[in-house]
Symmetry: C2
Subunit: 582 residues, 2 copies
């Protein structure tokens, strides 16, 4: 052992002890006759002191020559500091160095190893091993570990068994694109890396394992949107002999537990909202309910008043931005610019200021009386001082646009407080969604999701209206997990594949093993999966998942540190019976 | 929730309660006026009773029609059994059924779902979801979960942080063959799946994470020997500012903890044995020390007595098989046949019976006196009643052959007791081993292992004699883990790559990122990895790892249940810019 203590534990209780420490040189302050060195390791920083009166002159000279990030080992006596630093645990003491060993030198790091670094994203990723030395990144990784451990111990205590499912599985074209792995031993054949352990966890339920979980890597070969990774980690769960309510309660319990043990936050029971209600009230299936600004529909009130922008539209919908009635022209113009951005694509935005004195001032005063606007305000639960924001158009699209504006307003008004946690369940998702590209229905969740029994008849007449036993957990405007009650009989599963455009042969070829399993006593079952990367980031009060992943990939799917992917040997290709076709 | 209780929890304490259970029909006994059903779930078996006097006749008829593995839900009253079954927890009660719902039917399973099944390996794997319903397999998976949880909580308590390293990494030709993953976004380039997170965990040490662990899947595309899997799980660990002794103590602590909490077995401190000593004493670098039969070298005693089989050989070596002096000719012939098998390849075997009366009877009485044989017996620590077994030839080869015989004798004599746990450390492994195929040295552990400083000079003169700071933990004749103190400076790492036949360009191309990292303050570090599959099997007292893996692959690397690997679409190949070259 190179040390008697870490750099994070010495205090006045150790005064006069002779200790050995090892770590990295964070900083050297050379006052000529006296040198201070901040020595850093995972556990903290301890100040070392070398001085001409009490330290051997050779060691003092060595100390002066230390560079940033040198790795050293020292022996010395713990003494009380004159100028104490209350910000760090070891701030009351320093170590008067008697012996110094340089364990390794360091070139000058390409960016500063400080809480706020001067290194850009690309450079930090290339030298990720230096980036992780920075306390914020290191703390994120430790935080992730704590969350993962808490998840495991909670689920284990609840009787869940963690079971490892295979990574080398079978490619199926449904869903996202698979990463594939050529098999050398089975010529011309490929494994696929799992997009999720979905079918395996269902088979474990058929196998009677009753309650399964796994923290597991999943893989999707998709063009990477910002903050997506080709490999990501799921908390994957499945239960048997349960209905939807049991699953919601179980994972509500898990989430409450995490908020309590990790953040010391108590939350009450999670609200449950149907998908339809979420879309109507927030224009979004993952509403951030840390704040209000609920939508109100004004179609009946706003139409028929000769205002051509509203008349004839499918929907007129608005919300009240709290305390914004004094917005300047510049500010309201900025909001118009915001909704007109191509990502949002709205044609415009109507304002009505609900002044502090109870009067209204709107951009459409020509068409609406004070009484008209009063009715709007009531519909939107607006208060004096609020700014009423109204949009009109095709219903779904307009709700989506107003939702984007709602989030923008919340951001602007500082309502997205990372220390507030507002979870909810969104339930009754549609079973199917229409896919323009392939001109057919896709499973909104996945093809194993069960339709609500009372809606099955609608499959023939109005497939879009069929609701699934599917649910998402939403936390602060992020979907952190979702799941469903599964189909557990062969007939229904076959019917679903049929509706999704599989030929019977395709269904058999790709999912025959699952449908066969359903014929041998498959029990009712269901489950869900949480995105661990996202969950950890939100619990950590941050927006980006990247700094909660030790070695993330960039938006081209590259690891710029190890420079992967890369070319492989011709011999390797030959063994795999492959040729490049560039 | 489909149940108020599981099938494993009812007892007389629940007498007279009305309960709801759900599970699988294990067995139906139909006595006409009375039907008993054993209802099974993960937690146990509960006996249900339907009788003509107390059960609705329609339900009785339904019960009679139940098939094996049907999934049912029942409601009924807990009553005391007349004939109690002390073998199961619920054996004092049965449930008098009032309501019966068939949740799913089942075809007749292709093999019996019993502790001892009539299904062969291939069939069991194809219907693994039925195989797992069998208690021994289910219990193995639950056992694995418990071991994994115990590992995680122990290491977490010791300050280790579990950090997920990437699965999509870079292919390197050193070591075993990589599985590769074509990258669609980076044309003509491939990721590799990790054979271990070796370089990443070293980078985490450079990054200052201090103590890392991970339960992690690893991948090797090797021709599969029996009981090897292309994907397997490691307990992977690394520590900073430690020397070898710290690592041995830490993981000895982990292993003792596992033996205690999982098996309630106390073991004392693990013996430490050098590689040289293990090879000399047991002919094996993973000796099973649950029993003796240590080797003794007889070269000086046995040569020069005109026995041509021994004279001139590099080594004459023997051991004493306890209590086998009364072996018949048939039995000794069988031992000769055993060592002559092509897998072992010995030319023959010499016997000397150390009779109960102190006399000797050997196959070489013509050449050796009773006094000669007495000297052998003393060298081998033989006791009266033992059978002395002696082989001769080239030293390494002969030791290996005698080692195989030693294990065979132990098996025959019932000395490999799965309830006894005899761990040890084997240390001071050679740094390099000669590879006949490639006609160069390979790293015996891996190229990041540090040579012993006092042996570095030997690299130039006698590379085979250079010892590494490398160690294995051995448990009951199995290597369950191994590791080393790593190189942590660029110069030594470069030198190692050079000795291993890398050109500077190859070294830079493949491991440049690691050598660069070593220039930015890399600390002394080391670690090890345990094979979780093997560890769990040994703790479970079993030889094969396959039944501790939920969904194992066969010896051709196939998952016969899902039928993977398989062909993929031409469109998929095209997107990946690949062509088959069959």
């Amino acid at each position: 052992m190179y040390r008697t203590h870490t750099c994070g534990e010495l205090s006045l209780a150790n005064k006069s002890q002779v200790v050995t420490l090892a770590g990295w040189v964070q900083k050297v302050r050379d006052k000529g006759f006296m040198v201070w060195v901040d020595l850093r390791d995972r556990y903290g920083i301890t100040q070392l002191i070398f001085d001409a009166e009490r330290t051997d002159v050779k060691i003092l000279e060595q100390a002066k020559a230390l560079g940033r990030e040198f790795v050293i080992q020292i022996e010395g006596e713990v003494i009380e500091r004159e100028a104490k630093n209350d910000n760090i645990r070891t701030g009351a003491v320093e170590v008067l160095v008697k012996k110094l060993t340089i364990l390794n030198s360091s070139k000058t790091p390409p960016f500063t190893i400080e809480n706020k670094t001067d290194g850009g994203e690309e450079l930090r990723m290339k030298y990720r091993y230096l980036d992780i030395r920075r306390k914020p990144v290191r703390d994120n990784l430790i935080f992730r570990h704590k969350v993962a451990q808490a998840v495991r111990s909670y689920l284990s205590d609840e009787g869940f068994i963690e079971i490892e499912t295979p990574y080398l599985i079978k490619s199926t074209p449904e869903g996202a694109r698979d990463f594939v792995v050529p098999s050398r031993m089975n010529e011309g054949q490929f494994y696929a890396l799992p997009q999720s352990p979905q079918t395996f966890k269902q088979l474990l339920m058929v196998a009677g394992m009753d309650k399964y979980f796994q923290l597991v890597k999943c893989f999707r070969d998709e063009d990477l949107r910002a903050d997506r990774q080709p490999e990501f980690t799921q908390i994957d769960c499945e239960m048997t002999f349960i209905d939807q309510e049991d699953i919601l309660n179980t994972f509500e319990g898990l989430t409450k537990h995490l908020l309590k043990v990790i953040k010391n936050v108590d939350v009450t029971d999670f609200p449950r909202m149907t998908y339809a209600e979420a879309m109507k009230t927030y224009g979004n299936d993952k509403p951030d309910i840390r704040f209000g600004m609920k939508f109100g529909e004004l179609t009946d009130l706003a139409q028929g008043k000769d205002f051509p922008v509203f008349d004839g539209q499918e929907l007129v919908v608005g919300m009240a931005a709290p305390g914004c009635s004094d917005y300047s022209r510049k500010q309201t113009d900025a909001l118009i610019d915001f909704v007109k951005r191509s990502q949002i694509g709205a044609k415009g935005l109507i304002f009505a200021k609900y002044n502090a004195d109870g009067s209204f001032k709107s951009s459409v005063d020509k068409f609406y009386t004070q009484e008209d606007l009063q009715a709007w305000a009531e519909r939107l639960n607006a208060n004096k001082g609020d700014l009423i924001l109204v949009m009109a158009g095709e219903a779904d699209k307009t709700r989506g646009q107003l939702s984007a504006l709602r989030m923008h307003m919340a951001e602007t008004l500082g309502l997205r407080n990372p220390d507030v946690f507002a979870p909810l369940w969104v339930v009754d998702f549609p079973l199917l969604e229409w896919d323009e590209d392939s001109n057919r229905f896709h499973a909104m969740h996945h093809p194993f999701t069960s339709p609500k029994p009372e809606d099955i008849e609608l499959l023939k007449t109005n497939p879009k209206a069929v609701r699934a036993n599917a649910y998402d957990m939403v936390l602060n405007g992020n979907e952190i997990g979702g799941g469903s009650i599964r189909i557990h009989d062969k007939a229904t599963q076959k019917m679903m594949f049929d509706y999704l455009g599989f030929t019977p042969e395709q269904a058999e070829d790709q999912f025959g093993f699952l449908m066969n399993a359903f014929e041998y006593g498959a029990p009712p079952h269901g489950g869900l999966a949480f995105g661990l990367d996202r969950l950890v980031a939100i619990l950590g009060g941050q927006e980006s998942i990247r700094d909660f992943i030790a070695f993330p990939k960039n938006n081209s799917g590259r690891d710029v540190m190890i420079d992967a992917p890369s070319k492989i040997d011709d011999a390797q290709l030959k063994e795999l019976r492959l040729k490049l076709d560039l």
